[in-house]
Amino acid sequence: MYLSPVIRTFSLLIQLVAQSGGDPRSPGIAVEARLAGRWGISVGDTIAIAAEAAGPAQQRVVEAIYRGRADPATALRGELAVRFHLADLANLLGAPDRVDRIGVAVRPGIGPDSAAARINQIGFGFRAYPSATIASESSQTFLVVSRFHQAIGFIAIVASAVFLLCIMLLKVEERRLDAAVMRMIGLARRTVFLAFLLEATLLASVGAALGAALAYLATVLTNLFYQRKFETTLVFAHLTPDIVLLAAALSLVLGIGAGALAAARLLGATPLALWRRA
């Protein structure tokens, strides 16, 4: 059985988390590594703890220092935790035999939905939810953030597309004289166009590769920065092969497309006109 966050706020804003099992007569606690590190707490130390800022303090011995599981829902809040034996915390809070949540593991072969429905039929004063429902509800926030990131990504892609088109246009414009000479010495329009297309492909490929390297570097730096800032092992930025492929494909399509457009526009003119405008 697991008792989950029973929240009472200390004057020092410590979050108390109770853990079942162990000997309730032994008033030991486990302190989260970040809290231990910040306050210099070691195993064996005795610390005073109170449920209310003005309430009476009680002595507890630190039995363990633990590292909490990286949880995106709580990592950014910067809350620090101490774990108690369940009965000990309930007594400390003056609410014996009272819990916020009860975790239930069903036997193999039994569906969590039907188990939850059955508990709700017979239970009194509480409601049971399958873990999947709670996970889906609590992930709503992250789904919203993910949609927001996609929207921002779309705007960024539009901005890069315009930038790329601009650069490619200039790059091809720069080749006006070369195009004029090539056309005047008898090269077919198609040959010159293909030459420009090849150049655009090369540029887009090199740019995409450099972009992927830059993105990898940015990912490493982002993770380093935020993992330090929030003292967590959570991964904040994750560069997956899918993302690299999508970005490379977009760069190539946009780069080559922009190069082709610009080249087609340039080669629409006669060689003499190109020469005069060069």
Binding site: I7, V144, I152, S160, V162, I167, L170, E174
Partner: protein, 396 residues
């Protein structure tokens, strides 16, 4: 005359200029959105809290108002004492409980607020009239609840309270008449809420504390300092959390660190894109026109004037792009706001992107400044062009 030369040059390559303007427009749109995002939610939160002019909240220790089912015990004497305080213009308690109504065969659960119209800071009457003193059967309905349940002014509704979770039998029932459709300021989007007289609604809930209240709102009299009143009240009521709006905004700001950093990063990226675009295009354009620049220098145009022209061209292109970008930014901000305000439980009154003139002015100024900064190198190229050497290479 030279201005005419610069102006005609700007439209000499319409596709190129168009693309630069478009690029700057997209970058400025992103910059504006990020400028709005960086402070918008905080300001929107502050506006929401101050929308009825109540600058101080008293709530159960360790919670935000209506954050948990925790209550403040003994609110009646506290409110009476607050109302007699010369520094306080108005004070009122509120309580929140679950209430229910039957609709066809199903049971609909709503949030029920017990309010004191004499000192309430968390609803606005949209239609109808507020609860009158002594009206014990009047009810205020939030717009989403009115729409969902088809209630109109004057309808009588049976509210159920203290519901037995097993039998679904109500421990208490009250017949209430809809007096007004209101906007509950702290409700999330589509939240179903109703309100009634404080004592009536409180009687329908289950409470451990005697004389409970979820929150007390306080309006400080003009000429009195809000923070010092809050400090005084905190000392007088140590068992209760006293927060000024400014303090709540400060706490809220800490929760927004992600959006602040994201907006900073994306705003920086948009500026870098704009700077690269302007610098690259102008550098290439100046290089293309270096011959003309050398001729202008030869016939007596000063360096300062050429630098000025390049800067004006950059400013003009950036200003046009930014002008378009502001419009585009407002459209995309609406889109992004729709996404972010779908956060579960977020009060509907909160916006992430608040279109304030200050944000638009800041984004425009920063973007034009960046455009001018980006023109620095091309301007230097124009100013430093060696006349003789350039003319010689042009002649070859």
């Amino acid at each position: 005359m030279i201005g005419r030369w610069a102006a005609r040059n700007a439209v000499r390559h319409p596709i190129r200029t168009g693309l630069v303007v478009l690029g700057i427009a997209v970058a400025s749109a992103l910059l504006l959105d990020m400028t709005m995002l960086s402070g918008g939610m905080e300001r929107s939160f502050e506006n929401m809290l101050l929308s009825r002019g109540f600058q101080i909240r008293m709530s159960p220790k360790g919670t935000l108002p209506f954050d948990t089912e925790a209550t403040v015990a003994g609110v009646t004497p506290i409110v009476a004492a607050l109302r007699s305080d010369p520094a306080i213009a108005a004070a009122g308690a509120a309580v929140g409980i679950p209430v229910h109504v039957r609709k066809a065969d199903s049971l609909v659960t709503l949030v029920g607020y017990g309010v004191d119209p004499k000192g309430q800071g968390f609803y606005q009457v949209l239609e109808g009239s507020d609860l009158a003193p002594g009206d014990s059967a009047g009810m205020l309905v939030g717009a989403p609840a009115a729409a969902r349940l088809g209630w109109r002014l004057g309808d009588t509704v049976r509210l159920l309270g203290r519901l037995d979770p097993q039998s679904a039998e109500a421990g208490i029932e009250r017949l209430m008449t809809v007096r007004a459709v209101v906007r509950w300021l702290y409700d999330s989007r589509d939240q179903l809420s109703v309100g009634g007289p404080y004592r009536v609604v409180r009687a329908m809930g289950r409470f451990v504390d005697p004389d409970p209240g979820s929150m007390i709102m306080i309006k400080v009299r003009e000429g009195h300092d809000v923070d010092s009143v809050a400090t005084r009240l905190a000392a007088r009521y140590p068992g209760v959390q006293v927060n000024s709006v400014a303090a709540l905004v400060r706490q809220f700001r800490n929760r927004l660190v992600y959006f602040q950093q994201l907006s900073l990063i994306l705003a920086t990226i948009s500026l870098v894109v704009a700077v690269l675009l302007v610098a690259t295009i102008l550098a290439i354009t100046v290089n293309e026109r270096l011959g003309e620049v050398a001729v202008l220098r030869a016939i007596g145009v000063t360096r300062a004037r050429l630098v000025g022209l390049v800067l004006i061209e950059a400013a003009a292109v950036t200003a046009v792009g930014t002008g378009l970008g502001i419009g585009l930014g407002l459209v995309t901000a609406g889109w992004l706001d729709d996404i972010l305000t779908s956060f579960p439980g977020l009060p509907a009154a909160i916006s992430f992107f608040v279109p304030e003139p200050a944000a638009m002015f800041r984004a425009t100024t920063v973007m034009i400044g960046a455009g001018l900064g980006a023109a620095g190198y091309p301007a230097w190229l124009a100013a430093r062009a060696p006349i003789a050497l350039t003319l010689r290479s042009e002649a070859e």
